[in-house]
Amino acid sequence: MAKPRKFSPTRRNFLKGAAVAGAASLTPPIAPIASATVRKPETVTPLQDARAETAVPPEVDVLTTDHCGSDFMVDVLRSLDIEYVCANPGSSFRALHESVVNYGGNQKPEFITCCHEESSVGMAHGYSKIEGKPLGVLAHGTVGLQHAAMAVYNAYCDRVPIFIIVGNTIDATMRRPGVEWMHSVQDAASIVRDFIKWDDTPISLQHFAESAARAYKITMTPPMEPVLIVADSELQERPLAEKDKLRLQRVTRTAPPQGDSGAVAEAAKLLVAAQTPVIIADRAARTAAGMKYLVELAEALQAPVIDQGGRMNFPSRHPLNQSGRGRGLIADADVILGLELTDFWGSVNAYRDQLERGSRRLTKTGAKLISITAGDLYMKSNYQDFERYPEVDIAMAADAEATLPALTEAVKRLITADHKNAFQTRGSKLASAHQAALEQSRLDATYGWDASPITTARMFAEVWAQIKNEDWSLVSSSQTNWASRLWNFDKYHRFIGGSGGAGVGYGAPAAVGAALANKKYGRLTVNIQNDGDLMYAPGVLWTAAHHRIPLLSVMHNNRAYHQEVMHLQRMANRHNRGIERASIGTTIEDPNIDYSKLAQSMGLYAEGPVTDPKDLGPAIKRAIAAVKRGEPALVDVVTQPR
């Protein structure tokens, strides 16, 4: 966004008396911070007054300094191992921006130019899902953070660490007249405080260092959530004096909370004794280790796993992966273990969206429910992402990944030879069901195989054929489950889950951010890009091209906000009228958007629209060749709705 700037040459002349005239350019004086804070209120020179630009400066003015507060802020970011800062440039953090690119040499952090603050945060979201740590976001404390808010909410719902720094000019007498007042705020974090974990407004550089360290520690402790620090513009721009007195803080990561040992033992007892146990995982695996731990537990019990896809929890081709059979297994279960479930209630109840809304419990009478979630440790009241209250039998306020090893050990200790025989029988049946589901998926994919618009099954099959021998990473969640039905997800980086808050506009920037993280590992990053999502802030494609971020985007272009098409149809049917008009206000047609031209205009290799399924494979192949050259590429595919 363009932010009109005004320049007041007298704004920063607070070092009056600190240096003699003419000496500034030779030996820039560095005044102690304490003296810099003692200032007289300025007489503001109107911009329209040409004298402001041409008048001889007062003798006492010091116009330059070799180091400023934001240099130290860069040191702080570097100490926290922040690799990148994503930002749309803004005057309230202009000094920090300049320090990043000049003082810091634009390395660790490197400045990533974004065209919208929502893209900055979306990129940070995707990056965190791959890298497991936060990326920095810089934004205006007002208009920038307002733009960013939806993406922050997604990250909050998705339990993702993001380190946000917003610029603000707290001291009213230091604000330039005009825009800088509009871009200043008493309490910058207030607009997002309901959906971040912590924030602070430091008033000294040492305060900034300590709060930044604290923020990092908090954002990285499960449940991980975004944090925000306000960087006062005066603090940024003021000359840096007595740097030696400033200290960077050592950050010791907080060990994630493990389930209570008594509760773990009780849960193990229930699971081993169960005839039909089921494990449901949503955001269970925070790291590759989490996926391994879940496999160990499932194999010890020979229990089915339903992966709800909040993270890459469980290999898709593992015989115990029964994600496609969720409802039937839940109905038959005598013990259900829920790991970091967004919605435990919704997992064990069916809810009907008809005129008379109603629900029914899916589980049989007497079924025991065990919950392990760090969500129980942290909850806010305003936004309702905590879902409906679940009645469970054992609730562990703990991080699932941290608890799984202890639970698996406790399970193993209880398993007898008889158990092992029964478990093997159970496992064999589940393996057969898994194989049958796989075969059914292939059969289902044949329907409409040669259709145009192209079926989503065909699209996913065509993409899979081109990537299966690469080290690929799918960084988008789809409205269909064809990827999990047809692709072999065998490593943690194969999938990063979804948006969290279902805020549209997440997909494209998160994919670019995840691709940024994947770049150093040489992975082929794949994004199935929804059309409506891309149109929120397509400028992120330019960011990908500008920063040479290799990413394959394949458009799932159904020319609609299709979820809303279905919602409108539901309402029209319910009201017995206008059932032919669900497309009004919900489709993206007339004119159709040419996404390949859109992408090409921003420097991407792009093809499409592809409407004939026979053309799709070769188009994807050519796009992958571009990605392997280090570029982002896009193939626009006109598809069936879902």
Binding site: R442, Q569, P641
Partner: protein, 109 residues
């Protein structure tokens, strides 16, 4: 056998209105069936089941669209006539079988 039961039996045997598959195809798109079931009625596990090669009787078909037991929006007689339902039913019955899975290299294990 009472007259009432006889009447019911006769109703059950009443043949479906003769449907027009071409008209049904257009209706399938126009009134939104494709939204959940796909334009080829191929279905989606996320939205609606496959209707292609998934035979049910016309009576069952009409009964379900009028009063669906699941998530499907109801298509009452006020918005879809019996004849229109028959047209859609004819379209679904006219859909060709898909190619054999073994004949598609991309779908081989």
């Amino acid at each position: 056998m009472s007259v009432f039961v006889l009447l019911l039996a006769l109703l059950a045997q009443t043949p479906a209105p003769r449907g027009n598959a071409e008209t049904g195809k257009a209706l399938f798109a126009k009134i939104g069936c494709y939204q959940c079931h796909g334009r080829e009625a191929q279905g989606s596990t996320a939205t609606g089941p496959r209707l292609n090669q998934n035979p049910i009787t016309f009576t069952r078909f009409v009964s379900y669209i009028r009063k669906p037991t699941g998530e499907m929006p109801p298509y009452s007689a006020k918005v879809v006539s019996e004849q229109q339902a028959a047209d859609i039913f004819a379209f679904l019955q006219s859909l060709p079988k898909p190619p054999a899975v073994e004949s598609i290299p991309l779908l081989r294990p």
